[in-house]
Symmetry: C2
Subunit: 489 residues, 2 copies
């Protein structure tokens, strides 16, 4: 039975790990910090990828592919970026193995195959990409370049958790080049909006949009836009970032263009990414003590049809007919044909996997012309007339999607506090956690001190923050708007 | 103008490189042997990927993702496989960089961050995957496992060419686990057929299906099935392989299952893959001295509409209307809105890029109710009535697709020779190249000697080879069937 997961109340972190394992999403691998993404977990990522890819293409971007390995000399060219990632770099130093003379049947690194220059496995691809763009850009006619890449990256993390923080992860990274600052700033903001739409409309995960403080920015960026979501344990998840890179990479790689007045200028840049971390965010936004809960738009299976107590020709005929009609409406359906497991076992299993709707077809119900519909989000069950089933279930897709979003918004509202003193600030963190809106004096020192004392960081300076005079909860110095604090993943 | 590519006759290899560059498919990167796949080249790969992915899913496979890095101890577990790839392995030995004390602003590998065990960048994933499957398989009920992975792999090649042979490449690798030998053999054969269908129906690239000789097998396989295509220079391209791995990996990783009689047995395996090499095969199968030629089913843009001599409102209204109607039929259309370049320049450009159909809309033609349709494959142009344009062009998609396949089959027929003596064998290689059917005595020695003397290798033992008694062209020993020889990429 599937009931073996830890309660959230008891141990949230264990609950998360249990869901990842029991819903068959991922597992740890033989390589420290790297996970195996299992088929069911990968299918969620594939659905995310398909929607995001469509959104990127609709906004004029094209996909391309750049090398996995970055020569050290390129990697270190943009110093802030290099410094930001240096401590997490996996380094390739050799290109060959040989038979180990001391160890029959084993291999060792061939000492004669040492690389002249070490190669870094990309932690992010600005360096290799800007070194390439250098040759693509001569004049303003070559701009903008609007490219995205779906790739694996490697950051040697010390503490890892499936999806949320792994040494290798999958992501997309957009890298754009523009003639003007305005255009680059606009691009970063537009992608910020794409990420917001994706989080809210597909993941049903409400987010706060804002700018990172200077100390939380991407290494090498002049501005980092972020979407921040609130998880059920009251901690924030940075779910996607879009960076205005200024001319930093253009200067590091000497990428200039001739403008329409025939004057040489440095190119303006953005980069932006979301990763398999989103799967972690999806899990933690909606799931409960019975397992995963998935929004219909991203669920690999949206509807499962279960014969009760087991398959027989009459029931299966009805099941297949419903399945065909639902598929005709573009719904992803599975018909359960297993004749060994009991219905109770199956129900728990499908609940664990977060399938949004279950249709139970029993012999006695069928005689009355009824089927049973169970919603994963609310756990509600209802008997409905067979002939209404397809329309009802297909209507449920949007209803469940919206309910999950509304529920998550309500949760966030309940866990968002506006505070005016540091005592209050600390009290909220102790009792309730969640998002905290507080005044901040704008200095990195205060930010650092608050973080050290409370472990809460500035998640963002919200884009829709109202101008409001106040004083910093920590320093008492003047502040012009509230910023968003929380403990974070 | 785009006419700057080398003729095939003059220098085939340079012609290939010119097409890759001029059609904007890929370029060399700063990392030895690794290419940048540019948006247009990547769009071809994306189309290939979409069709293959659909075919794999339709045959019951699911996608998953396994780590990029393989610990050395796992990598060496299956000795033949390890030996086969050892000389091409990129090795990660360190996980951190630090500031170089001797070199302000530069980084160096942190000597204190040496890994206890070296990690290999996957050249193929059998090792990491079978080490994972070990934990997934207990009983026959856990079988079969039918998984595919889309990933990057790294093989440190000494001589590289864009798409055809690069140190890093993109591919899919299927890895399946089965209870019986028969089932695994069947799986390998079924995928072999999927690859054949893809090559012929989508790439319009005819292939010979067969088994590899023992010395040409995948390292660690008991049987390798291959599809072999003939390129325009008379050399063969191994385009996809499907391996029956026997119990070799199950034994190396101790993967056993309890059968229905409760008896422990080793699991049977297959693996299979195609890569970005297919893009190279596509280029070399169809393209000509004016540039790329693409089969409609894989062309990123299937139809381009060019206003002549340049856009004006009346012409663009017609162009947009045609575009909308073609899109409605699922055709990928581009409307050229550029008002600077001359039509001649554009035509050459679109020919270079291999766009299957060009619709030219000129003012005078339009007055007569005509548009001009140009086919990339035959270079034929015809004026047709505006109202017939959409139907005509949409019909051309299959006509061009089929013509390319037929042309390639005809080319292969012309360049396939059946020989009965080694003199003839050598003569064909000198004069004509291409595929050679010849008797072979079945020994690795003879195979090796022929390869050393002529550079031609056994491409495959065709699955549909007729039983036919004969004598080996090299040794004169008896042979029961002809095998396929060629020089190869």
């Amino acid at each position: 039975m599937a009931k073996e997961i830890t309660n959230r109340e008891e141990n949230y972190s264990q609950w998360y790990n249990d869901i990842v394992r029991k819903a068959d999403l991922a597992e740890n691998s033989a390589v420290r910090g790297c996970m195996v993404i299992k088929p069911y977990g990968f299918a969620i990522w594939e659905n995310m990828k398909a929607e995001l890819d469509r959104m990127f293409k609709e906004t004029g971007h094209q996909n391309a592919y750049f090398p996995l390995l970055v020569p050290k000399s390129l990697f270190e060219a943009e110093e802030k970026n290099a410094e930001g990632f240096a401590k997490e770099c996996a380094v390739v130093t050799h290109y060959r193995l040989e038979n180990d003379p001391d160890n029959e049947g084993k291999l060792r690194v061939d000492p004669n195959a040492k690389l002249e220059e070490e190669l870094i496995i990309r932690p992010t691809s600005e360096a290799i990409i800007w070194n390439t763009y250098k040759n693509w850009i001569q004049s303003y006619r070559d701009l903008p370049i609007l490219i995205n890449q779906w790739a694996n990256v490697m950051r040697w993390e010390m503490r890892t958790r499936p999806f949320l923080r792994t040494s290798e992860f999958l992501w997309q990274e957009g890298h754009t080049a523009h003639a003007t600052k305005e255009e680059a700033v606009e691009e970063a903001a537009m992608i910020h909006e794409v990420y917001t739409r994706f989080a809210e409309d597909y993941m049903a995960m409400p987010v706060i949009k804002g700018h990172k403080s200077e100390s939380e920015r991407f290494a090498g960026a002049d501005d980092t836009l972020t979407i921040e979501a609130l998880m059920q344990d009251g901690k924030a998840l940075q779910a996607g970032t879009s960076h205005f890179l200024g001319q930093n990479f253009a200067k590091a790689f000497d990428v200039k263009y001739l403008n329409s007045q025939n004057k040489e200028e440095y190119v303006w840049a953005t980069s932006w990414g979301v990763s398999t971390r989103l799967v972690g965010g999806l899990i933690m936004t909606h799931s409960d003590d019975d397992g995963l809960v998935l929004p219909p738009r991203l669920a690999p299976i949206q509807v499962v049809i279960v014969p009760i107590p087991k398959p027989n020709p009459e029931i299966m005929e009805v099941a297949d007919k419903i399945a065909i009609e639902l598929k005709g409406k573009g719904i992803r359906v599975k018909v359960d044909r297993d004749d060994k497991k009991r219905p109770g076992f199956k129900f728990a299993e499908y609940e664990m996997k977060g399938i949004p709707v279950r249709i139970g077809i029993g012999k006695r119900d069928l005689e009355k012309g009824l089927v049973e519909i169970a919603r994963r989000d609310t756990k509600e069950k209802e008997s409905i007339a067979l002939e209404l089933c397809v329309d009802h279930v297909s209507g449920l897709m949007d209803i469940i999607q919206n309910n999950l979003l509304e529920r998550a918004i309500q949760f966030r509202t309940d866990r968002t506090t506006t505070v005016d003193s540091f005592d209050e600030f600390k009290k909220v963190l102790e009792e309730n956690q969640g998002f905290i809106y507080a005044h901040w004096d704008g200095t990195a020192e205060t930010e650092e001190k608050i973080k050290t004392e409370t472990k809460a960081s500035i998640r963002c300076i919200p884009v829709d923050a109202k101008d409001e005079d106040g004083v910093c909860v920590y320093s008492g110095k003047p502040s012009r708007r509230r910023v968003l604090f929380a403990k974070a993943y």
